[in-house]
């Protein structure tokens, strides 16, 4: 009886229209569409995530005072140099609303960062991406879907493994 009821439930709860799967709505979770944002760099250049639709994108949220961010930033830069030719885009989103804005440019120079650094002055991106810990990285595929979310500092191998997945 239990097994028969189980079979009936499997049949009833089947998702024939694939409506249960994520991806159609934007949310900061694996399998969902990456939420759109538009931010400015320190030289007032406006950059939107939609500008990079069709490309593999790594969105890294960070702050200058955060030690794990300091650890992983040189690794991200090194790996970015290796994958840039394969179309990888890295957007470093500084959580400026919880950081010292004057510390960002010296930080970028100190670590020799060449990818765009966006200033999240009002915490718009932090709110959209439900930021709870720094650093947090979102690996976004060419279809705009988040393929992986990594909270905390990443090792080089983890960074490469996730980039390999999104540049396919």
């Amino acid at each position: 009886m239990i097994l028969l009821t189980g079979l009936v439930w499997i049949f009833i709860s089947a998702d024939r229209t694939n409506s249960a799967t994520a991806g159609r709505i934007p949310a900061p979770q694996k399998g969902f569409l990456a939420p759109e944002f538009k931010l400015e760099t320190s030289d007032s250049q406006s950059i939107s995530l939609t500008d990079y639709r069709g490309k593999a994108v790594l969105v890294n949220l960070w702050a200058t005072w955060c030690p794990p961010c300091r650890t992983e930033m040189p690794i991200i830069e090194k790996v970015y140099q290796g994958y840039q030719d394969q179309g990888l885009i890295v957007l470093g989103v500084n959580s400026t609303n919880q950081d010292d804005p004057t510390a960002v440019t010296p930080f970028v120079k100190q670590y020799g960062i060449t990818f765009p650094i966006l200033l999240d002055v009002n915490g718009e991106a932090a709110s959209l991406y439900e930021l709870r810990s720094l650093p947090t990285s979102f690996f976004i595929g060419r279809d705009g879907i988040i393929k992986e979310v990594v909270v905390g500092s990443m090792s080089e191998a983890l960074l490469r493994a996730n980039i390999e997945e999104i540049i396919k």
Binding site: G6, S13, N18, A20, P26, S133, A157, L158
Partner: protein, 245 residues
């Protein structure tokens, strides 16, 4: 800020692992208390857990590295990284089970009483995992308009993580109220049956199911097969007991 948001902020990943570690500690304490009732040597059982845990950690990392050999060749030091994401958990679990089985045979630990002794640990771990799902937002539900829906990942959804917590707590309670003199293996099989039955039900409300042909949920089919095997084993035990009587 409501209680759910507060909980999710406090135990946001990677802090959600604390919940699993806490559950493991409680579960081990419960299992240790029940070991004499099942006449299982506690020292041997503790060693078995330690050996299988080492097997899990080492093989999970090594197998992940082997699967991503070209990446690790570029940064070999990453093999010692503290990143828990650099881990093949299913392969690690498979090796841990094999290691535990081999050690158990070597230490002459009886299979079914040992599994019965460890059942409170498994049941408590299931509660810890359910709480970690609630904290991280994983294992989320499908969209719904039910009054108890929660706002998660851009929509009102079934609180499947809360269903999971309730089901796993009920499973633990049902395990703990069993008389330990029941037939060897019964507590473990009961745990397997209850866990697979609850997964079978809750999976139907999930919004992240892996779908197979016809929109059927893969996890539900796997849960049904495990439930079938567990119920058949319990029935077989019962018949065996009647024959002996």
């Amino acid at each position: 800020m409501n209680i759910l948001s507060l909980f999710q902020n406090v135990f946001a990943p990677p802090r959600d692992l604390i919940l699993i570690i806490l559950a493991a500690w409680v579960g081990l304490t419960l299992s240790e208390k029940r070991a004499p009732l099942h006449r299982v040597n506690l020292d041997s059982l503790s060693n078995l857990l330690l050996v299988s845990m080492i097997g899990f950690v080492v093989s999970g990392r090594v197998l992940y590295a082997l699967e991503n050999l070209s990446i690790f060749a570029q940064s070999p030091a990453s093999i010692f990284s503290l990143n828990t994401d650099l881990f093949d958990q299913w392969s690690g679990l498979a090796i841990a089970v094999v290691t535990a089985f081999a050690y158990g045979r070597r230490a002459h630990l009886p299979l079914w009483p040992s599994l019965d002794t460890l059942t409170p640990l498994f049941a408590t771990l299931a509660i810890g995992i359910a709480f970690s799902h609630l904290a991280s937002g994983l294992a989320f539900g499908k969209e719904t308009n039910v009054p108890w829906a929660i706002d998660q990942w851009g929509a009102l959804r079934h609180p499947t993580q809360i269903y999971e917590i309730i089901a796993s707590i009920l499973t633990l309670v049902l395990i703990l109220i069993q008389k330990p003199i029941a037939k060897p293996g019964f507590e473990f099989l009961l745990f397997v049956a209850l866990t697979s039955a609850s997964r079978l039900v809750i999976e139907g409300f999930r919004g992240d199911s892996t779908l197979i042909l016809g929109g059927f949920r893969a996890a539900q089919i796997a849960a049904w097969l495990i439930l079938f095997a567990a119920l058949a084993s319990i029935d077989y035990q019962k018949r065996l007991g009647h024959e002996k009587e």
